[in-house]
């Protein structure tokens, strides 16, 4: 279909890509200048959530496996990073060893936790995966005795930042007279990895594997009868999703410098799921949009406190409450008016085009 773009179409496409790249490269500086340093940090976090949401999108959006324990893989990636790059065990391995290791280990756990759930569907799968997610969190919370592995609820502190030789992402660097702070540099690293995750997701979506996942989501029995090894492909979906989760976990640990089981609770899993549902399940731009929206919107809402004080002299609605309220309303509205998500997939748009023509 789109494999052979015509020349006159290809040129504006590259132009769009070029402008997009420039925009993404300048974004942290614009944000820093316009909104402040804390917003650049938030941008980093948003990219992290984009990776997480795209990972879960493979499991939930493509293969249709409702996984409520996804945060377990995020936690695993984070703890692997913390164990191998902090004073906790006195290990300080370089990030380019730990990140792939954590992602791989999370992927293996994806298969391990996926195996017992193969026969389950829908609600039952959701309940079991929710249980697995909680088990991992509770393990992390309690594995400080008899041997102190996770340091329990206190978590692990002083985790190494990403560092290549003497070049550390936690310190500012001066290049061509411009000062790149830690959050700026982290942005570029996260952006690079996010783009890689997007690229992999896109390539998979339009492949033999991606089609098999969607077929399983649509009708598992028909998929099996059409020659798809449903067991292997479901496990592959769990593994791929978990790998991205583990990668994001490692980055999170290095970025925060501190992790504790508290960061990996059920609410986190649900938030990531909401990003997918709100944005457009199974559709990459939708998922990215959902992740950015749900990470950045709560911060915007924080300002409503100030606005209220300026307007009325006092705060009537606590911004934190407002956040949950708007959140619930947004979800209900999306389910009612745009059940396919805010940015539905191209397939549906194709359908509208068909209906008109």
């Amino acid at each position: 279909m789109s494999s052979v773009p015509s020349l006159n179409k290809a040129q504006p496409r590259w132009l769009v890509f070029g402008l997009l790249a420039l925009g993404l490269a300048l974004l942290p500086f614009l944000v820093d200048a316009g909104l402040g340093r804390s917003w650049v940090r938030l941008l980093d976090l948003a990219l992290l959530y984009v990776m997480l949401a795209l990972g879960l999108n493979i499991v939930v959006g493509y293969a249709g496996l409702l996984d409520l324990g996804y945060v377990a893989f995020y936690a695993l990636g984070a703890y692997v990073y913390a164990w191998l790059a902090s004073p906790h065990f006195g290990l300080h391995l370089p990030f380019w060893v730990i990140l792939p290791l954590g992602a791989m280990l999370a992927g293996m756990f994806g298969v391990l936790l996926g195996t017992p759930t193969l026969r389950l569907r829908g609600d039952y799968l959701a309940i079991v995966t929710l249980g697995f997610g909680e088990i991992i969190r509770i393990f992390l919370n309690n594995l400080n005795a008899p041997v102190n592995i996770t340091n329990g609820p206190q978590g692990i502190n002083l985790i190494d930042p990403v560092r290549l030789g003497s070049f550390s992402l936690s310190q500012p660097h001066e290049v061509f007279g411009y000062t790149f702070t830690g959050v700026h540099l982290t942005y570029y690293l996260f952006l690079l990895l996010t783009l890689a995750v997007i690229f992999i997701s896109m390539r998979l979506e339009n492949s033999r594997i991606g089609r098999a996942w969607v077929a399983i989501r649509e009708d598992e029995i028909a998929a099996a009868a059409t020659g798809i090894n449903t067991r292997n492909l479901k496990l592959l979906a769990f593994a791929m999703g978990a790998t991205f989760g583990g990668l994001a976990g490692g980055l999170f640990a290095s970025f925060q410098g501190f992790i504790s089981p508290e960061s990996f609770n059920l609410m986190e899993s649900i938030m990531i799921l909401c990003m997918i549902v709100l944005g457009g399940m199974g559709h990459i731009p939708g998922v990215i949009f959902g992740a950015l929206l749900l990470t950045l919107l709560p911060e915007v809402l924080r300002y409503t406190g100030d606005w209220q004080r300026n307007l009325f002299g006092q705060i009537y609605v606590d911004p934190a409450d407002l956040r949950m309220l708007l959140f619930g309303l947004a979800l209900v509205a999306v389910m009612l008016y745009r059940p396919a998500g805010m940015i539905p997939s191209a397939r549906r748009r194709q359908e509208f085009a068909d209906a008109k023509g």
Binding site: S207, T226, Q350
Partner: protein, 255 residues
């Protein structure tokens, strides 16, 4: 040997209900074999047993030299037995083209690495799959629907798309579960033409059908099931005169 599918002594019970008792039959290479019988006779159960959706209690099923019983559905398909469903089971949210492309899954091999890096082998495979899928859609008269979602196709076209998806798996035996169900007269005639064409191309067909007229005119040979027991097997001529078949369809008083 001429036998493509050999079923010997297959039994299957659901709790106290004996759905299939000691069924034996042979489908020969190149024929259109009909499986008929009143509602609840066990036809679809037998289909599900062939295609690995049910495990059978006793008996053996062979396709050529490959034993099918005890295998998973995707292994049965890999061995060369493709099927359609009585209540159409398409991938509703995928386009017609994608539905047929899924049919290529079992005959292609690219994995994650090939897909992500778009290796030359993967590209070749994908191009080949698309070419075959388009050809199949064209043959089924579905070319104009290639990029429409399966769920939005007219009913008759959905049936044809399901056949196209099954054909994409390059089966040696195609099993159709009531392909004419719900079709109007024109659609039935077109279906009949299509099945004869497929037979002429060397495909062996096995079909469950309620439309006795269609079956009698189309099938080389028939087997009749009643209450999970095979009561007759032979050419349409012979079967239609069999007193047990007449009794099963019209009641004992008709004799």
């Amino acid at each position: 040997m001429r036998a493509l599918l050999t079923v010997s002594g297959v039994s299957k019970a659901f709790g106290g209900l004996q759905a299939l008792s000691d069924i034996s039959l042979q489908v020969h290479r190149g024929e259109i074999f009909g499986l008929i019988g009143p509602n609840g006779a066990g036809k679809t159960t037998l289909f599900n047993a062939f295609t690995g959706l049910y495990t059978i209690d006793r008996g053996e099923i062979h396709l050529n030299d490959t034993r099918l019983d005890g295998r998973k559905p995707h292994q049965v398909l890999q061995a060369g037995l493709a099927r359609t469903f009585q209540n159409i089971r398409l991938f509703a949210e995928m386009t017609a083209l994608e539905n047929v492309l899924v049919g290529r899954h079992a005959r292609t091999a690219s994995g994650v690495v090939g897909a992500v890096l778009r290796l030359p082998a993967t590209r070749r495979e994908e191009a080949d799959s698309r070419e075959r899928a388009h050809a199949l859609l064209h043959r089924m008269g579905l070319a104009k629907h290639a990029h429409r979602l399966a769920k939005n196709l007219p009913y008759g076209d959905q049936r044809r798309l399901e056949i196209a998806r099954a054909l994409a798996t390059e089966p040696s035996l195609l099993a159709l579960d009531e392909p004419a169900a719900g079709m109007n007269k024109a659609e039935r005639t077109a279906l009949r033409e299509l099945l004869l064409q497929l037979q002429a191309d060397g495909l062996t067909l096995l079909l469950i059908e309620h439309d006795v007229k269609l079956v009698m005119g189309l099938c080389t040979r028939l087997a009749v099931l009643d209450y999970g027991v095979k009561i007759a097997e032979g050419t349409p001529d012979v079967v239609s005169r069999d007193p047990r078949v007449i009794a099963a369809y019209l009641g004992d008083e008709a004799l």
